[in-house]
Amino acid sequence: MNLAMLFTSPRLNWLGLFARLTLGGVLFIAGALKVTTPYKAAAAMRAYELLPINIANLFGYALPWFELGLGALLILGVATRLSAFFAGSLMIVFILAISSAWARGLSIDCGCFGGGGQVAPGETNYLQEILRDFGLALLAVYLYWRPHTKWALEPGSR
């Protein structure tokens, strides 16, 4: 099997399906858990102390919907490459924000799946949160590189 065959191997389509459903599933669930509690989502966003309060509030209200939408596209397998680009960018932003909170000595929960805000100094999970988002970013990179996946609504997904 040469390299060219590897690229077109149907087996890779299954790997793509795994990447799509994992990345899309996590995004969809993360969005769904937060979309019904906008006040908490905005509070979690403010807790990073990175944005002016009113901007953080707007992002806090809007982000769960954006995650929900990206997750839906990935799960359905439509515009996989474009969705993977946005999902990967989002993960990089999350990693930077969490790292920044860590570096500044804040004690917050990432608020990724609801919750968020201040926690006791010993209860932060920055490393786990960063590693998880890094793993998801790798899946996004894979899907961007090879958006062709099994069981996609749009088989030749761009």
């Binding site: 077109t8 149907p10 389509n13 979309v35 509690t37 906008p38 006040y39 908490k40 905005a42 509070a43 403010r46 807790a47 309060i53 009113n54 509030n57 707007l58 209200y61 809007a62 769960p64 919907w65 954006f66 929900l68 939408g69 839906a72 596209l73 359905l76 439509v78 515009a79 805000g117 201040q118 062709h148 099994k150 996609a152 609504l153 749009e154 088989p155 030749g156 997904s157 761009r158």
Partner: protein, 227 residues
């Protein structure tokens, strides 16, 4: 065919239909979230509420020091705060020793909204403090169905808040928009958890233990000039 080597990328109509629908849901949903969490100028305010005090229910508006209390009727920590320091706050309000502003938040769900609306209705009857203390003392499990409008009326009746006007106010959700405005103000003032209490605009440090210790809380009040 799994390997779609041609230039075709599936059915473009499906692609754009799905992208369009998803984008529509995202934009409309985000728009609703932003709209629901922004202040509504048309909101009916309870008579004791003051816009410049963040829509809070104000006691002794012209006194100092100023104590701002941000709580959610369904929040268990707020119940502990109330059982620890509620009586002291009530005494300050009744004995006119401080300005106290209550901000009932509602981020724990619909039953918080009913309870907060009821608080405004009780304030109109001059019974906010009674209602406040009794609701926290009899706090049910979060969103268990206990605090429907009927539940709020029944609980308030046990606290001595009764009357046709009060019941109509609760049942109509007269102050539901005001409840939303209080929440929006909480976001603007960076209230990230409940209870959050400010004394003269300074947030009480959680590490001080004052939220859940009456002597520590009293120390802060004395430091703020209360005898």
């Amino acid at each position: 065919m799994v390997n779609n080597k041609g230039k075709s990328s599936g059915d473009p109509i499906t692609r754009w239909l799905v992208i369009g629908m998803v984008a529509l849901v995202v934009v409309v949903g985000a728009g609703i979230s932003i709209f629901n969490n922004s202040s509504k100028k048309t909101a009916v305010l309870p008579s004791a509420a003051s816009v410049k005090d963040g829509y809070g229910i104000v006691f002794n508006g012209d006194l100092t020091p100023v104590i701002d209390v941000w709580e959610d009727f369904q929040c268990p920590s707020c119940k502990v705060f109330e059982s620890t320091n509620g009586a002291a706050l009530k005494a300050l309000a009744v004995e006119k020793k401080a300005k106290i502003v209550f901000h009932p938040l509602s981020f724990l769900g619909p039953e918080s909204v009913y309870a907060a609306n009821g608080a405004a209705c009780a304030a109109d009857q001059g019974k906010f403090l009674e209602y406040n203390a009794f609701m926290y003392a009899n706090q049910p499990a979060e969103n268990s169905g206990a605090w429907s409008n009927e539940g709020v009326i029944a609980t308030a009746a046990a606290a001595g808040v009764t009357g046709a006007e009060f019941e109509t106010c609760v049942n109509k959700g007269k102050y539901a928009d005001w409840v939303g405005n209080v929440g929006s103000e909480g976001s603007k003032q960076n209230v990230n958890s409940t209870p959050t209490v400010f004394i003269n605009g300074k947030e009480i440090d959680r590490a001080s233990g004052a939220y859940y210790s009456a002597p520590e809380f009293m120390k802060l009040l004395v430091a703020a000039g209360i005898k």
